[in-house]
Symmetry: C2
DNA sequence: GCATATTCGCGACCCAGTCTCATTCGGCGT
DNA sequence: ACGCCGAATGAGACTGGGTCGCGAATATGC
């Protein structure tokens, strides 16, 4: 967890952004989550601190962290959106457990070739894609599924 | 277009749902769109008719059509959601032109094998996935891009 | 035609997310 | 150690998508 918040702190610094208390609070809230989390949850979590973080700030921080590649937005099958913390490494996709919410990153998986083929056959020039995978993680497949949080 | 509305009519019938004027109106509005469309657009379109369709009804109809597999929800890169009309055929993905909004369906593309591999390596049991492709369609790649609608 | 369950439409409501703007504060220069 | 200044914050109003509840309307089977 400290590792996570640390990397956030570092990233902020090297991006020339200020390191403020609210941002620390958001980082901490994110670090405290195992899997995906919603803006609401981050908001709630930071409200409980002595110095509450404003709603707007939470959204702004999430936006910033997204821009820095430290978190990514996921649209759950249910339709509402969540975020997952992730390594700012190259292109990757998320595999989210629909029971406990834990998410793992899966690296490139030969999609590029397929995209090339699609481009060739449709004449489209693909600019971006979104691939999200949902399922049950190894742990939750056993009889007693871990409930989310 | 009549073809599109027809298939909607048929689908409603065979699903044991009533064929009402508002639903026809929504179907017509959808058929009038080349590419993706938002709930708002459908709403506006049906408002202009003599007999206006209520906001709730538009959403309910879209929900129903989605359940019937005639339209599908797409989350645009911008974050807001739209719908695309599609064949109730098997599993497929959408390729959306970010300029003109036109969308084409691309069939299965060897993703299954990759998913199997991911399952094997992560221990996850994948239940569903979402793959959306965005880019420029052949027409919009030429100098004068067709603007949306 | 009639009965009746389905669907509608209105309007109130809810909730995520944005905007504004006065206030605060982090980080740099000295 | 101090002060400056632009970046960042927070409170709350606001917006816009989407839902809910309920009395009225209507599509369908008979």
């Amino acid at each position: 967890m400290t590792a996570k918040t640390d990397s956030i702190v570092v990233a902020l610094g090297s991006a020339g952004r200020r390191l403020t208390a609210p941002r620390r609070a958001v980082a901490a809230a994110i670090a405290a989550h195992e899997g995906y989390f919603t803006a609401e949850e981050v908001l709630d979590a930071s409200q409980t601190r002595e110095r509450a973080v404003g709603r707007a700030t939470v959204f702004r921080s999430l936006e910033l962290l997204t821009a820095l590649g430290l978190v990514e937005r996921v649209d759950l099958p249910s339709g509402d959106h969540a975020y997952v913390a992730c390594e700012p490494a190259g292109h990757h996709h998320h595999l989210v457990c629909s029971t406990c919410g834990r998410s793992t990153e899966v690296a490139e998986l030969g999609l590029d070739r397929t995209l090339d083929r699609i481009e060739a056959s449709t004449g489209f020039q693909i600019e971006s894609h979104r691939l999200e995978l949902f399922g049950q993680c190894a742990g939750c497949q056993r009889i007693r599924p871990t409930t989310r949080h």
